[in-house]
């Protein structure tokens, strides 16, 4: 571990750190290098900046620079104390309430709500109005009292979610005590939140102190940036044009606040990888080294890759970060140079003309660990009416492949080579990769529809089923009157076994199986040529899965569309598909008719898969 790993890579965060460090230095040494006593008056009144008075003087001849340097300490100190106190209170309230639940939580929740809603500044003003003597400490504490609630609510919510995480349950199962779980298991996992809350309470504290001092409610015997502004305002500095008096303190507050907020960008991006901006490419760092770096740093990087990959290649079931963590820490893709056994590709004797032809497709992800080749030289042909099963374990690149075909890849993933051609009824080819927005939108849903793993959230949670049918019909069949659109939607709902009168339901009012069926019905509504189904039954119970599968197979017979069915469940694929493609580490290792693949798998990996299934009793 070297120092360089501790320096953040984001420019924003570096700038933030530089600002904050600079001001902390000023706060520490400022009073010593101030050239005058900040309160010492002189006859140099309202002088503009000069060699003698770097920032000029006030109306009573005080040196503004000395006041500024001394004031930095007061302002930052009040902010720091307010930040620490308010964070201690919010952690205590949030952690206890969220972990203990029950009546304690109810009471703490209401207490938090009270302090959250009652506006802080007026309360602050009234409280300080009554304070007999206004020392810095009492002001900081009063600020903390009015500002802890927001953070407490966030921490409570996070505790509620963490306490249900399995590692907390496992710790209870090991026999750890309650306090130990709260402070050694749950709390460390909330540090980003606590840090972020701390930064904002410091900002809030500095702003509140400045505001109070500006109103004349601060400790007026101590110089702070706020009290400088108070005296400046009271002496009409504005009208007399003494900008050197009131610009520096206000600017300093804004800059310190911005510096702290910039540091918070790092925390935000750490805990929500989707927020990361720009390219993550940083050449010259091997995955091993990065993973072996500081725990926190490594974890952040990994979750970043995880998120990128998970978004583009949703792996088997709920272990969403599985993909990338494995990619990163056990870089399977890095082992691409290990000899890959020759793939076993059998020409498909399927009848029907080709509808989608994928040729030597390659998809790359630039990541912090170098480029990951998520799809490498994959060629496939989908024919009209065919069910093509796409199998592979988590992180094999199967979803990346289908996202490339449907043009749903998200940056930083990009097609690095190869071609994808769609053929219309009459055989006219369309190059999907070169299609412009307009042409792509026209083709979408009319010819190529997608069913997402939607028992979870492929349906917009805040609009009705009707609206989600309606928008797509309106865009692609502009002439239809509303009544007709409703009628079409209702017909398709009934076709998947949902009563047409459920059309005004919202997604949350439907069970997982019903949501999946609604997604299928929406996919059918324009009678497309191809439907891509990404793990459409993974989150469903066995019995519901069976219903949905039967329905899909029946509808395929009725409408004659082709299906690309992606799942990690090879047994299921073999049962419903005409042909099966097996992917592993971005390669197509086996591709051919389902029957051939089942009876005599050609690639060692497929053989292993099938024998594992056999031993687990899943092929019975």
């Amino acid at each position: 571990m070297s120092i360089s790993t501790l320096i953040p890579r984001s420019g924003k965060v570096r700038a933030g750190l530089a600002i904050v460090v600079a001001f902390v230095v000023i706060a520490v040494v400022g009073p010593f290098i101030a050239r005058y006593d900040p309160n010492q008056t002189s006859f140099d009144m309202l002088e503009p900046p000069s060699g003698r008075h770097w920032l000029g003087t006030t109306q009573t001849g005080q040196d503004v620079f000395s006041q500024f340097m001394t004031g930095a300490r007061t302002s930052l100190l009040v902010g720091l104390v307010a930040g620490v106190v308010s964070q201690v209170v919010s952690v205590a309230v949030g952690l206890l309430g969220g972990y203990l639940r029950g009546v304690a939580d109810d009471l703490l929740y209401i207490l938090t709500a009270v302090f959250l809603v009652i506006p802080g500044m007026p309360l602050l003003i009234v409280l300080t109005g009554y304070l007999p003597s206004r020392g810095l400490l009492s002001i900081a504490v009063v600020i903390a009292i009015t500002s802890w609630a927001g953070s407490a609510r966030v921490i409570r919510a996070q505790t509620l979610s963490l306490r249900n995480r399995e590692f907390v349950e496992a710790a209870r199962g090991t026999g750890e005590s309650r306090a130990r779980i709260m402070f050694f298991e749950v709390l460390p996992n909330m540090l980003p939140l606590v840090a972020s809350g701390f930064l904002f309470s410091v900002i809030g504290g500095i702003l509140a102190e400045a505001g109070l001092a500006f109103l004349g409610l601060g400790s007026l015997t101590t110089t702070s940036w706020g009290s400088m502004l108070y005296f400046a305002q009271n002496s009409q500095a504005l009208l007399s044009g003494a900008w050197w008096w009131y610009v520096p303190p206000g600017l300093a507050i804004a800059v310190v606040g911005a510096g702290l907020a910039l540091i918070n960008f790092a925390i935000d991006e750490y805990s929500n990888p989707r927020l990361r901006t720009g390219s993550a490419t940083r050449p010259g760092r091997s995955g091993r080294r990065a993973a072996a770096a500081v725990a926190a740093g490594a974890e952040a990087e990994l979750s970043g890759v995880a998120e990128t990959l998970a978004e583009n290649d949703s792996p088997a079931g709920p272990g969403n970060d599985e993909t990338a963590e494995r990619t990163a820490a056990h870089p399977e893709f890095d082992r691409a140079d290990e000899p890959e056994l020759a793939p076993c590709l059998r020409t498909s004797p399927m009848p029907g003309s080709p509808i989608i032809e994928v040729d030597s497709l390659r998809v790359d992800y630039p990541t912090a660990f170098g480029t990951v080749h998520a799809v490498q030289d994959v060629s496939l042909t989908l024919r009209r009416g065919e069910i093509l099963g796409l199998a592979g374990e988590s992180g094999s690149g199967k979803s990346t492949l289908t996202n490339a075909i449907t043009r749903l890849l998200r940056p930083p993933a990009e097609v690095a080579g190869g071609s994808i051609v769609y053929r219309a009824d009459d055989g006219t080819p369309t190059d999907l990769l070169r299609l412009e927005d307009q042409g792509l939108r026209a083709l979408r849903w009319n010819e190529i529809a997608v069913v997402f793993q939607s028992a979870m959230n492929a349906l917009n949670p805040v609009t009705s089923i009707r609206a989600q049918f309606d928008d797509v019909i309106r865009v692609h069949r502009p002439g239809l009157p509303p009544a007709r659109r409703t009628e079409i939607a209702g017909e398709h709902l009934e076709r998947v076994g949902i009563p047409a009168d459920r059309i005004d339901a919202y997604p949350h009012e439907l069970s997982g199986g019903m949501k999946q069926r609604v997604a299928i019905a929406i996919a059918l509504v324009l009678e497309p040529d191809v439907i891509f189904m990404d793990e459409p039954t993974t989150a469903l119970d066995l019995l519901v899965q069976r219903d949905v599968l039967d329905q899909i197979v029946r509808l395929r017979e009725e409408y004659g569309f082709a299906i690309v069915f992606t799942t990690h469940d090879l047994a299921l694929l073999l049962e419903i598909s005409d042909s099966v493609a097996v992917m592993r580490r971005g390669h197509l290792v086996e591709y051919g008719p389902a029957r051939d693949l089942y009876r005599e798998p050609g690639h060692q990996y497929t053989k292993n898969l099938l024998s594992s299934l056999e031993e687990l009793g899943s092929l019975a």
């Binding site: 003003i125 507050i253 928008d471």
Partner: protein
């Protein structure tokens, strides 16, 4: 509407807590405000005013509970006591005079800032990874500027230097307040700069929150599905992404509103704007405790009401809260 009823109960409780806090603060704070006042007045306090102070603070030796009941009784009759600095004007009269100014200024400015901020936030999220990312640090800086300092700078630039706007007051003092066009024009003219201050001071916060939420939501499956449906970009962005991303902004309204109200009060002070904030500042300076408390109570109740409205909007926007009606 179980969700809304629950919220209603919570806010009723919070309102009660605010009332009670208001009752307790003068009684629990160290020091005796009455003595402070009488000492501070150096004999200038009229006997009537001294009596009023005693009445206000329940100088009677009644037990706390009796005082509390009397306090609640007064409130029920909208009797907030008598102002000391404007003796003998009732506090409620002063407040009802200042209220419309603040409601108009802060209300309108907050709505503008919210709409502007969320709209820009969605835009920045959509254009993520381009030049727009460089706007973020600037917004962060804007968000950290103290309102009152922003107000000072705006006054300096737009009022003092350029003379485009008046720098103080709520309307032209030469006019008589009436419901006529010239007067309304003057009010709007005077409100422009304070409103600008509040908007600039607060919209960056909405932008940052909305951008982060929209970026997060853009990764959801339903947005991919909307895209796969071939819907126009506008529909995907607003009908799917922003429509969902705005929900946390509304939940977080309470937190943001507190900051806006605090900042607006200081803004009013700078502009000598005749609203609640400026009145509170004057009350504090004059140690007019009854007025101070009346104002605190009214501001709190107004914020509570605003939160209730935000929650009602939430119910309209999120069908999941309407379950089990």
């Amino acid at each position: 509407m179980r969700f809304l009823l629950k919220k209603l109960a919570l806010y009723a409780f919070i309102a009660w807590a605010a009332l009670t806090l208001n009752f307790l603060i003068p009684r629990l704070m160290p020091g005796d405000p009455v003595q402070v006042l009488i000492a501070a007045s150096e004999g200038q306090l009229t006997p009537e005013a001294a009596e009023a102070i005693k009445a206000q603070f329940g100088i009677t030796d009644d037990p706390l509970l009796v005082q509390y009941l009397a306090y609640l009784g007064d409130l029920a009759r909208l009797d907030l006591g008598v102002s000391l600095s404007h003796f003998p004007v009732p506090v409620s009269d002063i407040i009802s005079g200042a209220m419309p100014w603040t409601l108009g200024l802060v209300g309108v400015a907050t709505v503008i800032s919210f709409l502007l901020g969320t709209g820009l936030g969605v835009l920045l999220a959509w254009r993520r990874g381009t030049w727009s990312d460089h706007v973020l640090p600037a917004l962060t800086f804007l968000n950290a500027i103290p309102y009152f300092w922003m107000a000072l700078i705006l006054v300096l630039l737009l009022a003092v230097t350029l003379g485009w706007f008046p720098y103080a007051g709520g309307y032209d003092r030469t006019m008589f307040p009436e419901l006529a066009l010239p007067f309304i024009g003057s009010v709007l003219y005077h409100a422009a700069l304070p409103a600008l201050t509040i908007v600039i001071g607060s919209f960056a916060g909405w932008v940052l929150q909305m951008r982060n939420m929209t970026v997060t939501v853009l990764g959801e499956d339903y947005v991919s599905m909307a895209e796969a449906k071939g819907l126009p970009r506008r529909t995907v962005l607003f009908g799917y992404a922003a429509r969902n991303a705005i929900l946390p902004s509304i939940t977080g309204f309470a937190l943001a509103l507190g900051a806006v109200v605090g900042g607006s009060m200081l803004t009013e002070v700078i502009f000598n704007y005749p609203g609640l904030g400026y009145t509170l500042f004057q009350a504090v300076s004059a140690q007019d405790f009854p007025l101070m408390q009346g104002l605190f109570l009214i501001i709190s109740l107004a914020v509570i009401a605003a939160n209730l409205i935000a929650d009602a909007a939430y119910v309209v926007l999120d069908p999941r809260t309407r379950q089990g009606a």
